[in-house]
C-alpha cells in the first residue's frame, strides 16, 4: 500500500491520571518542574506537535465529548477543535461539548440561555485553572492537545470503534500533513457552543470596562491629587504615610503564600497533626492574626483623621488593583474577569465609616 505517514505516532497509556501524564511529560522533555520522580522514558520521537487524550470506557459510543480547558486556563489552538468537529460531521459521529447535546441554532430565548450557560461554565472552568482532562498538561509544553471522551448513554444510534477510528485517523492525517505549528487560528477564545466561538477582541472589552470603572475613579481624584499638601495641617507629603499599610499588606500576603507550606513540614515534626491539617491550621492562624491588623494599621495611616489620608490610600489601592487585574486578565482572562467582577464594585464603592 501507499505510505503516507511522515511523522511518528506515540501511543501512551498512563496510570494515576494527571500525575502519570505529568511524570511522562517531564521525563520526555527532561525538565523538573514539579519534582515528580520517575524512571526515564523508553524512547524519544522528537518534538511533539499535537496530542489527543482519549477516555473510552466501552467499545461502543453514542457520542464523543470534547474538553478544551487546560492547566492555568490555557487553551489549544481553535484549529484543533475545528478539526475534531469537521471530522465528526464527515463521519456522521455525534460530537458534544461539556456533555450537553447540541441545540439547534436559533434566536429563541432558550437557545440563547443554553449558549450563555455553556459560555459561563467554560469561564468557570478556565478560571479554576484545573485541566479538564489529561490534555491540559501538554499545553504548558506548547503542544496543542484535546481530550475526547467516549460517552455511552441510552441513545438509539450507537457507533462502534470503526467510526471512532476513522475520525481519529482523519484527524491524525491532517496533523501529519502540517508543515508548521498550529498558529493560524485563535489561541484565546470562549465557546458558547461547539460550532461558535467568541474571540478575544470581543470579550476583552468586558474586563476593559470593569477596569475603566477603577480608572475613572482614579482620574477623578488624580485631577485634584489628594497628595498635594494644600491644607495647612499637612506639612509632610502624604506619600510617606502610605508606606506602612502597603508594607503590612504585602507582608501578610507573603506570609499567606509561604508559611502554610513551610508550616506543613515544621508542624508535622513537632505537633501531632497530619500534613493537610497543618496547612489549614497555619492559614487559619494567619487570618486570626490578620484580624488584629486593621485596627493597628488604621492608627498607622497618619492622615487617618483627615479626609485626605484615606483618599490617598484608596487611590493607591485602586491603582494597584487595576494593574494586577489587568496583568491577570492578560494571562488568564476568565480568572481576571471573575475577580474583577467581584472586586471592582466593592473596591470602588468602599469608604471608611465609624469612629476615627
Amino acid at each position: 500500500g501507499q505510505i503516507y505517514w511522515a511523522k511518528d505516532i506515540i501511543f501512551l497509556v498512563n496510570e494515576h491520571d494527571l500525575l502519570g501524564m505529568e511524570a511522562w511529560l517531564e521525563g520526555y522533555h527532561d525538565v523538573n518542574l514539579t519534582g515528580i520522580r520517575s524512571e526515564g522514558t523508553l524512547g524519544r520521537a522528537g518534538a511533539i506537535q499535537a496530542a489527543i487524550a482519549l477516555e473510552l470506557s466501552s467499545d461502543v459510543v453514542t457520542s464523543l465529548d470534547v474538553a478544551v480547558e487546560g492547566l492555568d486556563g490555557r487553551l489549544p489552538n481553535l484549529d484543533l477543535l475545528n478539526l475534531f468537529q469537521a471530522f465528526c460531521q464527515k463521519n456522521g459521529l455525534l460530537c458534544t461539548i461539556q456533555g450537553k447535546l447540541p441545540r439547534p441554532d436559533g434566536d429563541s430565548l432558550a437557545a440563547y440561555g443554553h449558549r450563555l450557560q455553556t459560555l459561563l461554565l467554560m469561564v468557570l472552568a478556565q478560571a479554576s485553572g484545573r485541566p479538564r482532562g489529561d490534555h491540559g498538561l501538554f499545553l504548558r509544553y506548547r503542544i496543542e492537545a484535546l481530550t475526547l471522551r467516549g460517552v455511552n448513554s441510552f441513545r438509539q444510534y450507537k457507533y462502534d470503534m470503526t467510526a471512532v477510528g476513522k475520525t481519529l485517523e482523519g484527524m491524525f492525517r491532517k496533523l501529519n500533513n502540517l508543515l508548521e505549528r498550529l498558529h493560524q487560528s485563535y489561541f484565546f477564545y470562549l465557546l458558547p457552543s461547539l460550532s461558535r466561538f467568541v474571540s478575544i477582541g470581543h470579550y476583552m472589552p468586558a474586563v476593559g470596562f470593569l477596569l475603566l470603572v477603577l480608572i475613572l475613579k482614579i482620574s477623578f481624584w488624580g485631577g485634584t491629587p489628594p497628595l498635594t499638601p494644600c491644607s495647612p495641617q499637612d506639612p509632610q507629603p502624604g506619600l510617606l504615610a502610605l508606606v506602612p499599610p502597603v508594607l503590612i499588606c504585602h507582608a501578610a500576603g507573603l506570609a499567606l503564600y509561604f508559611l502554610p507550606v513551610l508550616g506543613q513540614r515544621v508542624a508535622t515534626q513537632h505537633f501531632p497533626v497530619s500534613e493537610a491539617e497543618a496547612v489549614v491550621l497555619t492559614a487559619v492562624a494567619i487570618y486570626v492574626a490578620g484580624m488584629a491588623l486593621p485596627h493597628n494599621t488604621h492608627r498607622v495611616v497618619a492622615g487617618g483623621g483627615t479626609d485626605r489620608g484615606w483618599m490617598a490610600l484608596k487611590l493607591l489601592a485602586l491603582l494597584y488593583l487595576a494593574l494586577q487585574l489587568g496583568c491577570l486578565a492578560l494571562l488568564n482572562f476568565s480568572l481576571g474577569f471573575l475577580l474583577a467582577a467581584t472586586m471592582v464594585p466593592a473596591a470602588a464603592a468602599v469608604t471608611p465609616t465609624g469612629p476615627r
Binding site: 489561541f187 488624580g222 491603582l319 494593574l323 489587568g326 492578560l330 494571562l331
Partner: protein, 435 residues
C-alpha cells in the same frame, strides 16, 4: 545627617543580601530588562573563563566588556556579590556628597541674585530655603538605593552598577570643582560605555561657572580653559585605552566593545528602541538607520547647552536621561541613575503638568514587561509586537517625563525673573506658553 544615611545603607544592603540568598536571584539575572548583552554577568563569567584558558576573551562575540573590567573581576570573582553591593553603596554616598555641595552652590547663587535684585518682587513662594533643601541629599541616596530597578540590577550582578558608580564619582568631582578628577572619571565612564562622552559639555559649563569665566566665544580665558579640560579628558582617555592594550596585548577590544555599541548587531529584545526596528529592516538600509538612531543620543547636546548654559547640573540630569533612553542597549540600571536625581528638582512639583499619569504609565509598563514576555516566549500566544508596544510606551513615558521636568524648570526660571502674576500690556492676566 550621617545616621539616617547609615540606616538607609544598612536597609539597602540587607534587602540585596536577602535577595541574593533567595531563589529569585537566578530568575532575575535571566531577565532581558535587567541584563543586556553589554553588561550581563553570564558574559563576564564566560570572558573570564576564556581568559583563564589563555584565549582572547573577545574571540567568539559573546563578551563585550572592557579589559579593565575583566581584570577587576579576575581578582574579585570570589567576592562578586560583595563588589556589587559596595558599588551601590559607593554610588549612593557619592551622590549624597555631590548633592550636598550642589545645594550649597544653589543657595549661594540664589542669595547673590536676590541681593542683585534680579528677581521680581512677588516670587517669595518660589525662593528655596535651607530648611526644605536639608533632606534632599538623603532622599537622593534613598531614591537610588531603594529603587526597585537598582535592587534588581544589583541582584542580577549587571555591570551597569559599576558604570553608574563611575558616573556618580564624575558628578561628585565636577561639583566639587576638581577639573582633573572630573576629566579622569569622565574618561573612565566614556571608556566603559561610549555615551557619557556627551557629559563633557555640562561638566565644562559647570567648571567654567565655578571659575567665574564668562561663556563667550570671544573670551580668551574661555577657550584656554576649554582646551585645558579637553586635553585632560583626551589624555586620560588615551592613557586608559593604551593601558587596556597592554593588559591584553591586542586591539581586539575596540571593535568588540565600541564597534558593538555603535553597530548594534545583537537584536535580543530589551527595553530600548533599537531591536525591533533592526529586526524588521532590510540589510542595505541598516547602516543609515543605525547612524540616525545613534545620532539621536548626541544630537541634543548642543541645543541643550545653548539653552541651559546657566544651569549645567540640570543639563547634566537631562543628558543622563537622554543617554539612558536612547542608548543602544539600555537596562533598568541606567534608568535608576537618573531617577535618583528627581528629589533634587522636587521644588518644580507645582509646575509639573502630567506627573501623575506619567508615573502610572511607567509603573504599569514595568509590570507588563514580564507578563508580555511570558505570553510571547513561553505561552506562544503573543508575539514581538506586544512586547515592543510596551517598550515604546515605556520610552514615550520617560521622554514625556523629562520634557515635563524641562518645561517646569524653564517656567520657574521665567517666573523668578518676571514675577508670578504675569500681565499683558493692557493689564489683563497673561498665560505662559512654550513655543
Amino acid at each position: 545627617m550621617a545616621a539616617p544615611l547609615v540606616l538607609v545603607l544598612l536597609a539597602a544592603v540587607t534587602v540585596r543580601a536577602a535577595l541574593y540568598r533567595s531563589s529569585l536571584a537566578a530568575f532575575i539575572s535571566e531577565r532581558v530588562e535587567v541584563a543586556s548583552p553589554l553588561n550581563a554577568w553570564k558574559r563576564v563569567v564566560e570572558g573570564l573563563a576564556l581568559l583563564d584558558l589563555g584565549v582572547s576573551p573577545y574571540s567568539g562575540a559573546v563578551f563585550h566588556e572592557t579589559p579593565l573590567m575583566i581584570y577587576l573581576f579576575h581578582f574579585l570573582i570570589e567576592y562578586a556579590e560583595l563588589v556589587f553591593m559596595i558599588t551601590d553603596v559607593l554610588t549612593a554616598i557619592a551622590l549624597y556628597l555631590a548633592i550636598q555641595d550642589f545645594n550649597k552652590v544653589v543657595f549661594k547663587k540664589q542669595k547673590l541674585l536676590i541681593e542683585l535684585d534680579k528677581y521680581a518682587p512677588d516670587v517669595a513662594e518660589l525662593i528655596r530655603t535651607p530648611m526644605e533643601m536639608h533632606y534632599i541629599p538623603l532622599k537622593v541616596a534613598l531614591f537610588y538605593l531603594l529603587n526597585p530597578y537598582t535592587v534588581l540590577s544589583c541582584v542580577a550582578k549587571s555591570t551597569c552598577a559599576i558604570n553608574n558608580t563611575v558616573i556618580a564619582f564624575f558628578i561628585l568631582a565636577t561639583i566639587k570643582g576638581s577639573a582633573f578628577l572630573s576629566a579622569v572619571f569622565l574618561a573612565l565612564a566614556t571608556y566603559q560605555s561610549l555615551y557619557p562622552l556627551t557629559l563633557f559639555a555640562p561638566a565644562l559649563l559647570y567648571l567654567l561657572q565655578r571659575q567665574f569665566i564668562p561663556i563667550k566665544p570671544k573670551s580668551k580665558s574661555f577657550w584656554l580653559y576649554t582646551v585645558q579640560y579637553a586635553a585632560l579628558y583626551l589624555c586620560s582617555l588615551v592613557v586608559i585605552i593604551c593601558l587596556s592594550f597592554f593588559l591584553l596585548n591586542s586591539w581586539d577590544f575596540i571593535p568588540s566593545v565600541y564597534g558593538f555599541i555603535l553597530s548594534v548587531p545583537d537584536l535580543t529584545p530589551n527595553i530600548g528602541l533599537f531591536w525591533y526596528f533592526f529586526a524588521e529592516m532590510f540589510e542595505h538600509f541598516s547602516l543609515f538607520f543605525v547612524c540616525v538612531f545613534q545620532i539621536n543620543v548626541f544630537f541634543y547636546t548642543i541645543p541643550l547647552a545653548i539653552k541651559l548654559k546657566e544651569h549645567p547640573v540640570f543639563f547634566m540630569f537631562v543628558q543622563i536621561t537622554i543617554i539612558s533612553i536612547f542608548k543602544s542597549y539600555p537596562t533598568v540600571g541606567d534608568i535608576a541613575l537618573y531617577m535618583a536625581f528627581l528629589p533634587v528638582w522636587s521644588h518644580l512639583y507645582r509646575f509639573l503638568r502630567n506627573i501623575f499619569i506619567l508615573s502610572c504609565v511607567l509603573v504599569v509598563c514595568s509590570f507588563l514587561f514580564p507578563v508580555l514576555w511570558h505570553l510571547w516566549i513561553y505561552a506562544g500566544s503573543a508575539n514581538s509586537n506586544f512586547y515592543y508596544a510596551i517598550t515604546l510606551t515605556f520610552n514615550v513615558g520617560q521622554i514625556l517625563l523629562i520634557s515635563d521636568y524641562f518645561y517646569a524648570f524653564l517656567r520657574r526660571e521665567y517666573y523668578l525673573t518676571h514675577g508670578l502674576h504675569l500681565t499683558r500690556q493692557d493689564g489683563t492676566e497673561a498665560m505662559l506658553v512654550l513655543k
